[in-house]
Structures are given as structure tokens and as C-alpha cells.
Amino acid sequence: MVLERKKILLVDPDAEAMQPLKTLLLQRGCRVGQVDSGERALHLCTRELPDAVITGLRLPKMSGEELLRQLRSDARTAGIPVIIIAEQRLLDDRVRVIELCPDDFVPKPYVAQEVVARLEVVLNDRRPAPPSAGPDDLEEGFSGSLADMSPVDLIEIFHAAGKSGTLQLRKNGHRGSIYLHEGEVVDAVCGQRQGEEALAVLLLWNEGTFLVDFAPTEVPRRVTTSTKELLATALARAEEWSDAIATLPSLGAPLRRSEHSASVEVGEEEGALLAQFASPRSIEQMVYESTGDPLALVRQLRTLWDKGLLQLCGDDIPSTERHPLFSLMGHSVASRSPLAAVAELFASGGPMPSTTGSSARQAWNPALTRAELLVTRARTA
């Protein structure tokens, strides 16, 4: 309904590649124009004032980057929402997207449904552009999903462009910030961690959201390692991290000591770690609240998990599925009894959520990123 009768301009030299998107937009009641160059797009925008423009970056005659700048600098076209489709693997494209600050961007390869869902959100959210909108205003901020651009990608962009500013990151209710000066990481904060200790955690976040703020920061330098070295190390650590968590349950799932652990002798270090799971805690929570090397911590936790000293809360659930309840549900496909067990567990009554005040209410931590929600919405409609 948002899209009905809206004029959408598609800009891409590859008409065939845009065809699925064009077809979908037409099915949703849009009036769709299509041009193959930035120059023609600009001409058409000035004359027709479309409701939105969806463009690639690499265009003949006038690039998508220049097109957006020209649109923003003209009061008549400054308010037209622009969605950029960019090649996420190319550092140059990522730098350009971040600097341009479009209304949204879609990494290639993309599905037409996702672009349409994002377009709907952009058109819903659209507010009139400020009258003084100019090139400098483009650098106010840019947000997105860490699944699309990881912290390492974002730092690479700052580094390549020699930019100063702050990266604000958020994941499952946890927050972190990375401060950069002229392309170099100077400090970071994540929970109790600061400097390189904070970076050790933040560079492993591959889901959640980010906000880029290019305003210069005045933080003292606490990170002494060069950014080039940090980036090189981060890639290797990310691989080690993936290996370390491969056999663990979801990092956000609450764990506790297993009953079995009471009858097993463990070393002092393992015992101390195990003691922290007397009440339910997730691995993510442990990492966020600790100050040591997260990779070392996760390896220790994996050892406890592999020995059967930790278990998911509520049940002795197999670790093949990420969600405790779904573990049983999924298992039920082969055998109905675990599903019945879930029902029994659910109907057994349990702790009432506190009603003593709003601060005691359980916080909402969306398990999906904005991009994933948009795709889900597009494919549920």
C-alpha cells in the first residue's frame, strides 16, 4: 500500500539485472522508470521528481556517487530518498557508501524482495529534508547491520579514507564504541573493557547494528597497536573464534552447571569458571562482563561444555539446535515425545515476571537485525 502509485526510478546500465526488481515494483503498483546512466537519472529526477531512486554506484557518464551529491545539493531533489546497491566486497564501494550516507544501501548480491521491503521502510520514514541540506550534511551519520558490514569492514573504511569519528556498535543489548582519529583506532570501550581489551571483543561482533559518526573525537590514545596490524590480527582471530564456538550452543543461550558436574573433579581454574554458572549465564554475558582475552575464555568454556559440565538451562537439551525450546521441537520431528515434554514444561507454571516496577521488566533484545527483519517481512507478506 505504501508503494502504490509511487514513482520509482531505477538507475543501472545492466537493465537485465534490474528486471526482477522492476517486475516486483510494478506488481506492487509502482510506476517504474529505468535509465542506464547517472546523467540521465539526474535529468529525469529534476523533471519528474520521483518518490525514490534506486541506483548502483558504477554508472557511465555520472557515477551513482555524483548523482547522489547532485540530488542532495539541489533543493528540488534534496528530499528524494536514494537507496544505493553496492558491491559489499569492494572496499572502495564500502567507503563510498559510508561517506555518501544514502537513505539505505543494499549489498550485492541482493534479492528484489529485500530491496522493496527497504524501500517501503524508507518511504514510510521519509521526513522533509532540511532547507540547508548540502554536501557537508551527508556525513551526519550512517547506520546499518553488522551482518552487512562487520566492525573490521568499518574500520577498514575509516582507515582507507583517513577519517576521524566514532563507531557505535550494539549487539543483543550490549553496546560498544570504537574511536578513530585520521584513520587510526585510538580507543574503544565495551562494558568494563577499554582500549585493546575492548577491541578484542568488538572486532568479533558479526551481528547487531552500527552507527557511524564522523564528528571528530577528543579521546586520549589508549590503543597503541597500529590499525593495520589490528586489522591483520582481527581476521585471523575471527577464524579462530569461529572454530572455538562451532560446537557451542548459541552464545546468547543461558547455561548453568550440569548436575553431572558435582561428581566430577576439576582443576582450580575450571572450578572457578564453573562456579560462575551456579545461576544461569550466557557465554555472551560472560565475555561481555569479563576483562580477559575473549578467545581464551571461550576455549575454556568449550572445554567445560565438551566435558558435559555445563548445560542449557531448563533441560538436558542436545546442543545441535541453537534455541533450548527448539532443540526439543526439532528433535520431535523424529519422535513426538520431546514435543510433548516441551508442552508439559511450558504448562508447569514458573517464575512470574516481576511486577514491582518497569525497571524490573525483561529488556527486549531483538534476535534479528534490521535487514533480517526486512527480508522476513518481505517474504511473509
Binding site: V121, D125, P366, A367, L368, E372, V375
Partner: protein, 164 residues
């Protein structure tokens, strides 16, 4: 694999299974009151729908198993039945006192068309930043599917607000 979870809760007189089945090709019945459905979204993303038909007081259930990872909750009831509204009200009070979840309140008008034009509530009537109200007809699958898209719209708004 990534999972998104939505919990659909109905009073005793409204069929939760139909609400799950409207978007899930595969539905498992766990008990007379609990249903589970899966809707694959992409190769790496699946939507899980838990349908709960609450036969008694909401506090008699282990919501702490279902809700911590829920993206949001649909509380549906029968528009023309006062007892259904009263049960839905108890559910809403319960969820609102214990959880900060986005909620869609959905009134099933049965075989009678909703009392106001579709355009009036198409995007949900905003009751608060996290709660919207819509009408639907349980017998009309497209109108049931729209419950989910409306809730997903609320969720997109909420995620967008996280930085504002």
C-alpha cells in the same frame, strides 16, 4: 542458521493453530494448547511461530521459556465476545507488566466485516510505541498473514529506534 521467533497468544475460545498455520507450511501440535510452526525465510533464516491457546491464568505457564528470544507477541481475541476480551486483557496486563516486548493486539471479527474501513487500521492503530491494534478475520488467511507483517513493521521501527 538464524532464527526469529514470534509468539501468538489467544484466549481459550480462539484457535491458535489457525493463526500459526496461516504462514507456516509445517505445524506441530505439542499439546491441546501449544503449537509450533516453521517458516523458512532464506537458506540461513527461519521464522518460528509458537501458538499458545491459554486455557487458564497466564501465570500458570513458563513464559520464561518462550519470551526471552521472542521478537514480539500477537495477542488475538474475538471482538464480539466479552469473555474473550477479558481474557485478552489479562494476557496484556501480564505481558506488559513483565516484558518489554512489542505487542500486536488483534481482534477477530469472525464472519462479520470489521466495523471500520480497512484503510483505517491497515498499518495498525498505534496504542503506544510498542503496541498496535488491528482487526482481522480468522477465516481469511490474507488478513491473518497481515498480522505478522504488521508486527514485523513494528519490529523494524523498534530496531530503527535503538539508536535514536
Amino acid at each position: 542458521m538464524r532464527f526469529g521467533e514470534i509468539t501468538v497468544v489467544t484466549p481459550q475460545d480462539l484457535d491458535a493453530e489457525k493463526l500459526v498455520r496461516a504462514i507456516c507450511p509445517e505445524v506441530h501440535q505439542a499439546s491441546s494448547t501449544l503449537y509450533f510452526g516453521r517458516r523458512p525465510i532464506t537458506d540461513n533464516l527461519t521464522l518460528h511461530i509458537y501458538g499458545v491457546q491459554v486455557p487458564s491464568a497466564p501465570e500458570a505457564h513458563r513464559w520464561d521459556l518462550l519470551l526471552p528470544r521472542a521478537l514480539g507477541v500477537v495477542v488475538a481475541y474475538r471482538w464480539h465476545e466479552r469473555s474473550s476480551l477479558e481474557q485478552a486483557q489479562r494476557l496484556l496486563d501480564f505481558f506488559c507488566s513483565g516484558w518489554h516486548l512489542p505487542i500486536l493486539v488483534a481482534a477477530d471479527t469472525g464472519e462479520v466485516a470489521p466495523p471500520v474501513p480497512d484503510s483505517f487500521y491497515a498499518e495498525g492503530i498505534r496504542l503506544s510505541a510498542t503496541t498496535r491494534f488491528v482487526f482481522f478475520q480468522l477465516q481469511d488467511p490474507p488478513s491473518v498473514r497481515r498480522l505478522y507483517t504488521t508486527l514485523l513493521d513494528v519490529l523494524v521501527d523498534r530496531v530503527s529506534d535503538l539508536y535514536s
